[in-house]
């Protein structure tokens, strides 16, 4: 009797530990459904500003007060580190001819949803260059005592992507290949949006 209680306790303890290691299975679809409008607004605002003058934004710390702002010029990228409340940030945006107010609004929206990184990334379909928007989100549900912190990387394509019966995005130019982003397979949220859960936000 004592032995079976011990085994039961051991199994339930083990299951508890394993459960603590994984994130909720439907995290991304639930998170996306709940925050779709906010995420789409951030993506659209970013793309509108990016088309005027390319850049990317990264929140360097968990406090979401310091950012690494990448100003992309023709042949050079300036990576500057700012406190978002410091005047140096606004001054630099103006000096590099960015719409300071609009960018600051975008930064605030990213902060509100704990979006750690946003950037446009080139990819290729055959020899044709295409662009996608990549956004990484931090969320408490993705933290694990044993595994540490994970991030949900959302990928926004411009066109609908093919996917297999497991909901994994496939390469449009070679449908035998599973599309990858930073070495990770992309799962489907909807036809144009994919996600992956990773230990790195970029």
């Amino acid at each position: 009797m004592k032995k079976s209680i011990f085994i039961l306790t051991l199994i339930s303890g083990l299951m508890g530990v394993l459960g603590g290691c994984s994130y909720p299975r439907n995290f991304t679809s639930d998170f996306y459904a709940k925050n779709e409008q906010r995420l789409e607004t951030i993506k659209d605002d970013f793309n509108r500003l990016y088309n005027q003058h390319p850049f990317s934004i990264l929140f360097e710390e968990k406090t979401f007060t310091n950012i690494s702002f990448e100003f992309n010029e023709d042949s050079i990228k300036y990576i500057y580190h700012f406190n978002i409340h410091a005047p140096a940030f606004t001054d630099s945006l103006k000096a590099h001819h960015y719409q300071a107010q609009e960018v600051q609004k975008l930064v605030e929206n990213m902060r509100a949803i704990q979006c750690t990184w946003i950037a446009n990334v080139d990819y290729y379909e055959g020899l044709k260059a295409r662009r996608l928007t990549q956004m990484s989100v931090r969320n408490k549900a993705l933290n694990s005592t044993l595994k540490g912190e994970s991030y949900c990387t959302l990928v926004f394509f411009e066109t609908p992507q093919p996917f297999n019966n497991k909901g994994i995005f496939l390469d449009r130019s070679d449908r035998k290949r599973r599309r990858q982003i930073n070495g990770n397979v992309l799962k489907r949220v909807n036809d144009k949006v994919g996600y992956t859960i990773t230990k790195k936000y970029r």
Binding site: L58, E60, E61, K62, S68, S75, I76, K77, Y78, I79, Y80, H81, T116, V121, D122, Y123, Y124, L127, A129, R138, G148, E149, Y151, D171, D174, R177, R179, Q180, I181, N182, G183, K199, K200, Y201, R202
Partner: protein, 307 residues
């Protein structure tokens, strides 16, 4: 109609020459004044244009000849756009490619065409003869950004990683699919310096190690002085230079190679640190302490001819 065509051709010619001059001018920013290149981009382009017909190589079945020549021309015109690919461990090979692309573009173009035609070719003091798995993989790498459409770059990176081995490659010496992202392709500091010595005609002076930072009192000043002598490559901690997670790593190790293109002290005490990696020049303003903390190796390459 003929006049219009001629005008378009003339305009194209001028645009091309302007682009060439501009790209050469950009590149010369990192070359010390007394270094005279062995060949010019114009000579390389002339050579590449003289190849009227390049047959599909039986050694590199997945590299199309037209795309290879197009890639080689792009390397010559835009050497700074040379990109190691996303998530690969090709940064060391990419950094040192700056030397042939700017110092001897004609020699590099000839080498690449020989490698394509014969499956082997000589460069510097060595003969590169890539293994079959590597030759079959070149042209098939995907999801690496612009490296996807750059089979010439894939050939070069895979051939180098296949030939040069260091202790980091000890447990993974034979190429298997996906190894471009693993220890198979990684480069320790000694291997990097060995590659510089054997691939290019120059002298190499190195300071630092894989686990210990170089003990230099005024590192920015030292780097600035080294830049006057030749090309300076840095071996640094990429996790700190480009943050990728909020986690603070307990172990600090270098994992990335860059070419230093400019360094100077700012009035506020910070350092303006300009370098070349991932197919573009980048500028960051860093504190001297942070810079000292991330740099593990400094390699200086001085071409022999300039002596």
């Amino acid at each position: 109609m003929t006049t219009v065509t001629r005008k378009i051709k003339t305009t194209k010619y001028f645009v091309f020459i302007a682009l060439l001059i501009f790209s050469v001018r950009q590149v010369s920013a990192a070359l010390p004044e007394d270094i005279t290149p062995t060949s010019s981009p114009e000579q390389a382009l002339q050579y590449l244009s003289s190849i009227k017909e390049l047959r599909q190589s039986r050694w590199w079945p997945n590299v199309a000849p037209d795309l290879l020549l197009q890639n080689l021309k792009t390397f010559t015109i835009k050497p700074l756009a040379f990109f190691e690919g996303k998530t690969t461990n090709f940064c060391s090979y990419s950094a040192l490619t700056y030397i042939p692309l700017t110092y001897d573009p004609l020699g590099f173009a000839r080498f690449m065409v020989d490698l394509y035609r014969n499956g082997q070719a000589n460069i510097g003091k060595i003969q590169l003869k890539p293994s079959k798995p590597v030759r079959l993989e070149a042209g098939l790498l995907r999801y690496k950004g612009s490296l996807d459409i750059n089979p010439a770059g894939q050939m070069w990176f895979l051939a180098l990683a296949d030939h040069f081995k260091g202790y980091l490659n000890f447990f993974n010496r034979r190429f298997q699919k996906g190894d471009e992202n693993t220890f198979w392709a990684s480069t320790n500091f000694a291997k990097f310096n060995r590659m510089l010595r054997r691939l290019f005609n120059g002298n190499v002076k190195a300071r630092g190690a894989d686990l210990f930072r170089p003990s230099v009192k005024d590192l920015p000043g030292y780097l600035e002085a080294q830049m006057q002598k030749g090309l300076v490559f840095l071996y640094l901690n990429n996790k700190k230079l480009y943050r990728k997670s909020h986690k603070q790593s307990l172990i600090s190790t270098p994992t990335h190679y860059v070419l230093l293109t400019d360094i100077r002290q700012l009035p506020d005490g910070n350092i303006q640190f300009e370098y070349w990696d991932y197919g573009a020049r980048a500028v960051q303003q860093l504190s001297p302490d942070f810079l000292k903390n991330i740099i593990y190796g400094v390699s200086l390459w001085i071409p022999k001819a300039s002596k």
